[in-house]
Symmetry: C2
Amino acid sequence: MRSAARPARGQSREDLTHIAIDCFARYGYQATSIDRIAKAAGVTKGALYYHFKDKEELLFEAVKNRVGQFERRVLGDVAPIHSAAAALRNLGRMCVDHATKSNHRRLIVTLMVESLDTNPRLATHFKAMMHRFREFLRQLIRQGQERGEFRVDRDAALAAEVYAGAIMGAEIQHYQDPREFDLAATIDAFVDQFVAWLAAPSRNGAPAHRTTRTRRT
Amino acid sequence: MRSAARPARGQSREDLTHIAIDCFARYGYQATSIDRIAKAAGVTKGALYYHFKDKEELLFEAVKNRVGQFERRVLGDVAPIHSAAAALRNLGRMCVDHATKSNHRRLIVTLMVESLDTNPRLATHFKAMMHRFREFLRQLIRQGQERGEFRVDRDAALAAEVYAGAIMGAEIQHYQDPREFDLAATIDAFVDQFVAWLAAPSRNGAPAHRTTRTRRT
């Protein structure tokens, strides 16, 4: 059994991915050595190599872990709401929360773009992640359509692509200029227009679901 | 005069930036040596070093040049149109065109994200570029508001942030999955909802400017 060789007082494989992603987010992937992660985790380099073949595998597992966490939070917090519009708003706020309260999400988004040219394995993983995110959105929008909350003549898959892109593009602008670019206000404004575009008209011709926009202060 | 030392039959500084950006876009920045660019340009390495201190300066100048070209095209083609909604549509199409007909724009967008962590000088340049793009959009939207085409109660600066982000996020999804992700359809759908959200209501309560969406085939 492989675990027989495992260091007795070492951190778990999952703990190590948490510590690694913290280091990558703080110092950048290139500038983070296995040595630095081992020191941060209080384990030997041997203990790290016991769990991960190399730095790239550690990055891959750390990203997988972090993305999985976000996806579980989305599934847990967004799905149960009984209004697709409210769910889309809630999801937008959750993305703002992730983007502004820790530097992990910034790492994920920048790695996603960097990996396009430098790391095919990671790029494939990110492509699948974005696919899952859009599929989640598409189902949410379809539910709104089935419930009569949203117009049925909007293409739910296309709408999902617009939503995913608007969130990502707003985030990148925020990372570029965190002090000046108000991510929450931008995402709120986007979700407002998105929901208004999807909303089924009420009997008097106005949208059935009023949308409001407030600039957060 | 510096030009006294310039190689007689060499390419111009601007020609060299065009050739360099082609190489960077094709092979990636890391994998492109000064030697490779010199060979592609048919000049000696010395001729390149005459114009540029190092590869980083060549990248910087090449990016500046390419971004300048796009900005001049935007100013020339978008501004004269006598409808802000049409200008926003036209700009969206122009972005699709740039993103799909050459690999330079993909290079610019990926470099913009990569530089956040690796190249402060380039990151500052990209930050200023995005600022100019949003300012151009803000003015376009303000013109629509002054003309009565758009609602005056929409925040033009915020709207510009949403537009710039939606385009960028759609592009990144397209670069991730060029065969499956239909960039033109996504950007068209976004611009439709954006313009509908901005549009001033006509006297009977419906938007004054009807928006249409067609999925490009």
